[in-house]
Structure formats: C-alpha cells, structure tokens
C-alpha cells in the first residue's frame, strides 16, 4: 500500500505548460525527493498528486487505482505545507485532531491518536497552546502531526523546512528521517536544499522546466549524472565545465584535448565523435593542488577559508561561469596568485554537444554506501 505512479502527467495553466509529461514510479515506503530550480514545477506536481490541482493530462495512479478525479482524503494522502497552514484559532490539540473531527471519530479515539502523534513529535507539553505561541520548528511539527493522525499511505511535503534556521533544519531533517522509518509510509518531499535531498532521499527526482532530468539514488546522481543539467545541479559548489575536443576513441574510453592537455577518460565511447566539441566536467572537490593527470593553471580572484575547507573561485578564459576548487583543510592559498589545479581523468565527466553524458565507467558498488556488514 502506498504505491504511486505518474503516467505522462501534464499540467497547463491556460496556455502555459508547467509540467510537461512526467513519468515516475514510486515504490511503497520509499522516500522520494523532488529537486529542481525555482519555477520548474515541483510544487505544481506535488499539488497534483495531492489532489489540490487538476491534472490536465495523464494519469495519477495510487495502488493500482486511477485517482485523477478523487479528492485528497480518498487518495489516502496527507500534505504538509511549506507555510504550515495551521488553524490559528485552535489549540495544538485541535489542530492535530482536525482530520479526525472531520471524519467524526469518537472523542476517545481522537484523544488517543492525537496523544500518540504528539508523543512521536515531542509536542505533549504544547497541546493546549495556540500556534501563535509556538516556534517555527514546533509549528512545523504540529503540521506534521496533523498529517500523521490520519495514517495516510503517502505523505507529501512541500519544502517543509525552508522557513527554519539552519540548526533547526538539521534537527528536523533527522527527525523526519526517523519518522519515515517509524511510519514506513511513502514520502514525497520537495526541497531546494541539496543536503536535505542527498541525506533523506532513497531516490532523487531532478526536475528541469517541467521535465524529469534524471531519477536515481543520491550517489548515483552525484557520480553518474546523465546530463549537464543534473551534473550542474547536484553537488555544491557546482561542477566545473571546461570545453574539450574529442581527439580519438579507444577501448579505454574517449581521448580529449582540454586546455591544451590530452586526457584519456574512462567513459563509454560512442561512434563518430572524433573531432566533436564536448564538455568536460570536474567537481571542485576532485581538484588537488599541483599534481594530477591534467593540470590547469588558474588565478583565483576570491579564496574562502572555512577552516574545514578552502574554496577558490577563478575566471576561465572564454567561459562565463567561474572555475571553482575545494581543497580539504586550511591551505595557504592566496587570491590573485596563480594556482595549479590538478585532477585525475577518472574523476572527469564528459558531455556531448547536446549536454548528454557519456556513461562513466565507475563501479557504483565502490562508490555507494556499503550495504550490510
């Protein structure tokens, strides 16, 4: 129970197409995170799943049943709004009890369920207060409480933590992950925050302008982005892109010339790419000072010393976005002094002129979190 499928889902507002054909299967108990730039249609997609927004085209199927025309309750879905949407005139107890009151549940059942929810969310001592007296994190927990009393099979969250400060967000993130384990329900979660996406998701759905750019486990998106968009979107600071020319194809991979140096990249070759102009991607955190199979000399204009990391930004001739490198620890690097950025061919990503990635030959089992003991 709690299995969701989107089949070529489309949403248009008037003439304006916002969601342009989304296909997605979400398994029971899965935690799926939608990410994407602002305005790409995440909230719209979520609201269609919730039943708040009419679906212009395609089917939304929950547990094998087409639910396009059912109201939210009949879909077995609960949603937590970004803005909490608490009933300000009711106490926390009544807020959490609201869905049960609507159902007409007996008072005994209501107080049991509300107390159970309050216990999970550590709100026991707040039950008689009004939302106006609570902190942001507590309000968010009340909103979650209102969602869990109905015991829905699918939870929808629209940027639930974006109004909270960084510390509280980290706490709530952990609590939500715990909650997911405890309830075992399917959760679909929209966020802007990369850390939330990477840490909480079983799978991440990257949306771009109404399309799904890629679906995959967090580390899969990080190590094997299928296109330039995902490569640039996942990872912070974002991946560096350098222009490259294909000079040849071998069994070992694709040979390219980048900034006057030759590299043999271990990626799946495609026929007929000799001489094509490609894009090479290298993540800032894969750059080491001075050494490497390729070395690019850059002059950082800004260097940030974070203690844990040293981050530099440099202009690259002929490219608008700056070249960024992240070095572990505190390094003696000064701005406006030349820096030799070295990197290994194995860490590089390669994209064709359409922005599609050449599949990297990396062993995902060595790159993902080890399973079992």
């Amino acid at each position: 129970m709690g299995q969701l499928s989107l089949k070529n889902v489309i949403k248009t507002f008037g003439k304006f197409e916002v969601v342009k054909g989304v296909n997605l299967d979400v398994g029971e108990g899965e935690f799926v995170v939608f990410v994407g730039p602002s305005g790409c249609g995440k909230s719209t997609l979520l609201r269609m799943i919730a039943g708040l927004e009419h679906t212009t085209g395609g089917d939304i199927v929950i547990d094998g049943k087409r639910v396009n025309d059912l109201p939210p309750v009949r879909r077995g879905i609960a949603m937590v709004f970004q803005s909490y949407a608490l009933y300000p005139h009711m106490t926390v107890f009544e807020n959490i009890a609201f869905p049960l009151r609507v159902e007409g549940a007996p008072a005994q059942v209501i107080s049991e369920k509300v107390e159970a929810a309050a216990k999970i969310l550590h709100l026991e001592s707040r039950l008689q207060q009004k939302p106006g007296m609570l902190s942001g994190g507590q309000r968010q927990r009340v909103a979650i409480g209102r969602a869990i009393v109905r015991a829905p099979e699918i939870f929808l969250f629209d940027e639930p933590l974006s109004n909270l400060d960084a510390a509280l967000r980290a706490d709530m993130r952990i609590e939500l992950t715990k909650l997911h384990k405890q309830l075992g329900a399917t959760m679909i979660y929209v966020t802007h925050d990369q850390i939330e996406a990477m840490t909480m998701a079983d799978r991440i759905v990257v949306l771009n302008a109404g399309y799904i750019a890629q679906v995959g486990a967090p580390l899969e998106l990080y190590h094997k982005p299928q296109n330039l968009f995902v490569a640039g979107f996942i990872g912070n600071p974002r991946m560096n892109f350098l222009p490259a020319i294909c000079t040849g194809v071998s069994d070992a991979g694709v040979e390219v010339e980048v900034m006057g140096q030759r590299l043999s990249l271990p990626v799946a070759p495609r026929p007929g790419i000799g001489g094509a102009s490609l894009t090479l991607g290298i993540r800032p955190e894969h750059i080491a000072p001075g050494t490497g199979e390729a070395v690019v000399r850059v002059i950082p204009s800004v260097v940030e010393h974070l203690g844990q990391q040293t981050i530099g930004y440099a202009a690259v001739p002929g490219r608008e976005d700056s070249f960024c490198f992240v070095l572990p620890g505190t390094r003696a690097i000064e701005d406006d002094k030349p820096f030799d950025a070295g990197f290994a061919a194995a860490d590089c990503h390669l994209f064709d002129a359409d922005g599609q990635a050449f599949e990297r030959r990396v062993d995902m089992t060595t790159l993902s979190v080890p399973v079992g003991g």
Partner: protein
C-alpha cells in the same frame, strides 16, 4: 505610539516635550471640534428652557438640573417604545445583513466566478445612491408588497442599502485569511461548508464584529428617512421620528429633545462598547510562516 515614556520605551517612540505638547494640542483641537456639538447638546439638556434664549449666551448652565430628563416621559409617554423600535429595527437589520453578507463576502473572497467584478462594481454603485434618492420607487414597491406601515418597511430598505459596504468590508478582511488554510482543510477531508464554519468563521470574527458595528450604526442613523416615508403608525415609530413630538407649533422643547436624544443613544453606545471587546487583533498569528 507611547507618549509617556519609561526606560523601556523604544527609541522610535520617544518624543521631546514640545512634540508631546503639540500632539496633545492637536488631539484636543480635533476632539473638541468633533465633540463640541455633543457637549453643548448635553449642556442644553441640563438647563431650563427659559434660560436657553438668554443673551449673552452662556455655555455653562446656571442651576442646571436633570429635570428635562424626567420631562421627556411626561411629554412622550411612548419614549421607551420608540427606543425599543429603533433597537428592534437596527438589530433586525444587522442580523439580516450579517446572515446575507457573511456567506456572500466569503464567496466573493474565495471563489472566482463569471460576472464577479461587475457584481462587486454594481454594489459600489448602489451604495452611492442615498436612500433618499430612491424613496419614490421604494415607496411604490412597499405599497405594492403591502408592507407600508409595518416594521418590514423600515427593515428591508435598511438591509438593502447596508449590504454593499458590508460586503466590501468583509470581503477585504476574508481575502487576508491565507488560502492555505482552505487547502489544508480540504486535504484533511473537510467540505467547503465545514471549512467555512470551523475555520473561516472563527478567524473572520473580528471582521464580522466590525461589520456588525458599522451596520448597526448605519441602520440606527439611516432609519429616519425610511420611517418618515414608509410608516405612519405611532407604535412602530423609531426614536428619531418620535423626537418630532418636541417640535411644537410655536416652540421647540430643546432641552427635552436633547435629553431624549442622549437617552436614546445610550443603549446603542453600550452595545457597541460591549461588541468592541471582541475586536481582538492577531487572530491569524501562527497560521502561516
């Protein structure tokens, strides 16, 4: 704005002594201008009739008394009846307006439907006509419906003329209630009506109280025109018409007139003070953000 400062007064609320003096002088001048007629009316009610036309005119009455107040009841044995009528009419108007306007304002605030803008515009246009302009058509309407010389003749036009401004006022208030609350209630399975009753109405209650006060005052002051034209029965007369009894053929009994006016207004003022306690702000605190 805090004029009296203690050590906790924020900087933005601190004034120099001459600023404070200026502010008080301004408040005093304004209030005096506003309240002087009432003050004089009250002083008039305190003095004997013979003293009213002495010259030079004296503001402060000599040997003032409350005699005129008891005199009201001699000249006007029906006085309380008139007050009751005034109240009955205004209360009925207020109740009717609220019953009609609260759902209507909600609909105008939350739903968008074809013809909404013209209807709202028409409401504004209607309220630009004063009742007096429409007296003749209204009279014919009342006569056709057989409502002349009943309470209805004073209640129905009152309701009609007070609805537009009430709708505009309450609609604005309701539009400020976040839509997410409706959506959340919908997600929780509540019907439109349930949401309206359990979520929107309680949050809108300060707005509803404001509309109730405005409507009550409006009905109180507006009933004169309708009562004068549509009713000739003494037992249905509201207070403003009843006060005509003090206008004699030769002279006007000013002191009793004023006394009656003050006694007539007093209950309304008391009710409004009572309603004001429900005008609490910040009811949406904690709803969103």
């Amino acid at each position: 704005m805090a004029l009296f400062r203690d050590e906790n007064t924020p900087m933005i609320d601190r004034y120099r002594w001459w600023e404070v003096a200026g502010i008080y002088a301004g408040i005093f001048a304004f209030l005096f201008f506003l309240l002087a007629p009432f003050l004089e009316g009250f002083l008039v009610s305190l003095r004997p009739l013979s003293q009213l036309f002495t010259s030079p005119y004296r503001f402060i009455p000599e040997n003032g008394s409350f005699e005129a107040y008891s005199g009201v009841f001699e000249r006007l044995p029906n006085f309380w009846r008139f007050v009751f009528n005034s109240f009955l009419i205004s209360t009925a108007v207020t109740v009717a307006v609220l019953l009609l306007v609260v759902p209507a304002a909600y609909a105008f605030a939350r739903f968008s439907f074809r013809g909404m803008a013209p209807v709202l515009g028409a409401f504004l246009a209607v309220s630009m006509f004063s009742g007096a302009v429409l007296l003749i058509p209204l009279f014919r309407l009342m006569r056709t419906l057989g409502l002349l010389n009943t309470y209805w003749a004073m209640i129905i036009p009152g309701v009609a003329f007070l609805i537009p401004s009430a709708i505009w006022l309450l609609r604005t208030y309701m539009m400020r209630i976040p839509v997410e609350l409706n959506e959340a209630a919908y997600m929780d399975g509540a019907s439109q009506f349930y949401t309206f009753r359990r979520v929107i109405l309680p949050i809108a209650s300060p707005g509803i109280v404001v509309v109730a006060i405005m409507t009550f005052i409006g009905a109180y002051s507006q009933q004169f025109v309708f009562a004068l034209t549509f009713n000739s029965k003494t037992e249905y007369m509201p207070l403003p018409i009843g006060l005509f009894a003090f206008f004699g053929k030769q002279e006007v009994v000013w002191n009793q007139l004023m006394a009656a006016a003050f006694m007539g207004i007093a209950p309304a003022v008391i009710i409004i003070f009572f309603l004001q306690r429900y005008l609490v702000g910040g009811l949406t605190a904690g709803a969103v953000k």
